[in-house]
Symmetry: C2
Subunit: 410 residues, 2 copies
Amino acid sequence: MALNTNLTTGRPTFVTHLECSMTGERYEADMLHGLSRVGRPLLVRYDLEGVGAALSKEALTSRETDLWRWRELLPVRHTSDVVSLGEIETPLVPIPKSGGSPNVLVKDEGRLPTGSFKARGLVMAVSMAKALGVTKIAMPTNGNAGAALAAYASRVGIETIIFCPDDTPEINVREVAAQGGRVYRVNGLIDDCGAIVGKGAAEGRWFDFSTLKEPYRIEGKKTMGLELAAQFGWKLPDAIFYPTGGGTGLIGMWKAFDELEALGWIGPERPRMFAVQASGCAPIVRAFEAGEEHAERWEDAATVAAGIRVPRAVGDFLILRAVRASGGRAVAVGDPAILKAVEDCARRDGLLLCPEGGATLAAYREALRTGLVDEDERVVLFNCATGLKYPLPEAPQTLDRFAEIDLGAL
Amino acid sequence: MALNTNLTTGRPTFVTHLECSMTGERYEADMLHGLSRVGRPLLVRYDLEGVGAALSKEALTSRETDLWRWRELLPVRHTSDVVSLGEIETPLVPIPKSGGSPNVLVKDEGRLPTGSFKARGLVMAVSMAKALGVTKIAMPTNGNAGAALAAYASRVGIETIIFCPDDTPEINVREVAAQGGRVYRVNGLIDDCGAIVGKGAAEGRWFDFSTLKEPYRIEGKKTMGLELAAQFGWKLPDAIFYPTGGGTGLIGMWKAFDELEALGWIGPERPRMFAVQASGCAPIVRAFEAGEEHAERWEDAATVAAGIRVPRAVGDFLILRAVRASGGRAVAVGDPAILKAVEDCARRDGLLLCPEGGATLAAYREALRTGLVDEDERVVLFNCATGLKYPLPEAPQTLDRFAEIDLGAL
C-alpha cells in the first residue's frame, strides 16, 4: 500500500540516451553503464520537448511534493522499480541569528531517509540498478552514502559491500551494518577504498557504485535544484553554498537548472555557485584559483568534515565549469570556523547542522564579511545531513534527587 | 525571509476558550494556564463552525503541507509568534517485509526538527509561550522533548532548564546543551524530574512545561491525526499503534478526529487505537486490563525504550477513554521483541526505527499473530524519533589497504 500517488501513477518517460560529460559521445539508455570510454561521468539526456508537452508547471505543482513528483525528469521508467523510503521535499529554514541575515536559508537535507542528502542519489541509482538487473553492489564511502545505499538496496534485496576509511564516523559504520550492508573499514582514504571497489568490479565481482561512476546518482541529486526552483517560485536564489566532496549535487543542480530553462520554467539567470571545501582538503579550491580545468589529488587530506574529505573528484572539471559559469567561487574554510558555525547555529537558531553544513555557514559568513555576497541577497546553504550523526560536546551536571537542590542557583 | 506561505499569511483564529478535561470547567483563552483547578489537563476549544465557514477541504489541500497548513485548528493567533524549524508533513513508509503485510505503514516522525515528534508539541507550546510573554521554562524529559524545547526556545530567546533521568540517552543530553538549554541529570525517573520542575514553578522560578501541564503541546501533537486524515484521503486507517508514555499524541489524535468530524471532513468511524507500552513500564495496560479509569504509578520502571518509560501519566484517563471508545487495546511488549523489531525493520526494509517505534512494530506483529488485527487492514505505526539517536550494534572488520585483500572472500 502506498498512498502517495507519485509512487503509483504510471507515466511516460523521456530518457533518450546517455552521453559522455567530456567528449559528448553517445551511449544507449536502458543498459548498464559505468564511466565513459575516456573514464569520465555519463550524463542522462531527456527528450525535453516531450517532457514539456506532457507536463505543465501547474500539473507539477498539484502533485505531492516528494522527489518522485519530478518523474518526467528522472530516469526510472516503471513504477515497479521505484524503491522509496519517503523522499520528502526538504524544508528551507531561516537562521537569522547565526547567519547574520534574514535572507539566508538552510536547506535541511537531514530530513531525508537515512538522515542525509545521499538518499536522493542512492534512491535513484538503486532503483535503476533494480531495473537493470544488478544483484550485488560495492561502494567506497565517507559514511552517509554507504548508509543510504545499504538501506535502499536491502529494501529490494540487492547485496551491498561498503568500504570506508577506518576513521569514518562510528554511527555511519553501524547504520550500514544495521541496514543489511556488509561494511569494511579500510586503512586509508576514500580513494583507497575506491581502488578496492574498482578492482573487484574489474574482476566482475560486483557493480561499482562510486560517486559519478554510475550515471543515476546525479539524476537523483539534481532534484535539489528542481526543488529549489519550485520552492523559490521559479526564480532561483542569488547564491548557493554547497559542501563539495565529489560534487555530484553541485553538478546535478547545474544540470537541473539547464533542463528547467529548456522547459521554459525558469529564465537564463543562475545562482552564483559556491563550492565549499575544508582548508585541510581543498583540491577544487586550488584548481579554481590556479585557473585549472582539472584538480590534482590533495595529499594528506584532513578535516573534521569527513563528508568533504575527498582528495580527488572524477567530476572535477564539471564542478569547476559550473562554478565559473555561475560567477561563483570555490572557497575553503578551516575546521575551527566549521565547528564554531555548527555551535552558533545550534545554540542561537536551534538548528543542529552537520560539519559539512557548518562549513557552508562558515563560508557564507566569510563571504558576507569580504563582500562576496550581500546580506540582501537570497542565499541557500546546504546542510547535507542531520547533525545528530556527529559527536556533540559533553553536557554538564548530575543532580541528586535526594539532595536539597538549590533551585535558585540553577 | 520565509518562502512557505503558511508561515506568513495572516488569518482569523478560532480559539474560544479552554476547558478542564475532567470537569469541563471553562477557562479563558489568551492567558497563561497550567493544569486545571482539579489538577488535570486543559483542552483548547475552537469555534468549529467558524473554522468550517473560513476553511474548505479544498483550500486546505492547496496549501503547503507542513504543520502550519492547519492554522485555523491551532491556537497561535499571530504569525509573528510562530516559531518554526520546518515542521514538514511526515511520510508514510511501507515496511512489507518486517511488518508482514503490505498494508502496514510507518509514520516516520523522525523527519521532524530535532529528529522526533516532540517537535510538534513543542513548536506549538513555545509559540504560545512567546505569545503569552513567558521568559523562562523548565521541563522534565526522557530526552527528545527536552531537545525540541531547547531548540525552539533558543530560537526565540526563551531560557530553558531541562531535567532528565541520569540514564537518558547521551545524545539527547548533549543536543539539549548544544541547542542552548541548561540540562541537569537527576538520579531518578521522569516523575522525579517532574517534582523538581513543579517545585521551582510553585516558587515562581519558571513556567512548567511538563507533558499536558500546559495546554498547547497537545494541540501540536494533534496534527498527527490531522495529517493522517489528509494523507489517507479523509478516510482514517483501521488501526493506529502508538507508543504511549505521557500519551499526549494519542489524546491529541483523538481530539483531532473529533474536530474533523465536527467540520464534516470525516465520518464517525475511528481507527482502533492501540496504546503500546513496554512490559517493564505498563501502567496504562494494567489499568486497561483491570477496567480502571486511572492508572497507578508503575514501580521500578525499566525498558530499553526510554521514551515510554513513564511511570505515571497525568492524562491516564484520557488515554484509557480514547483506547476504549475506539475498540482498541493497551498492549505491552518486552524489550527483546522491541530490539528484534528494530533490527528486522532496518535489515530487511531499510528503515531504522527508534526503540519506541520498534515497540509499535513488535506490538503489531503480536496483534497480527493473535488476530487483533488482520493483514488486510490498513494500519499505521508511529515511529516517534529517528533511529539514529540510539545506540546501534557494533559493526565488523577493519581491512588493511596495503595487504593483499582476498576480494573473493568478502
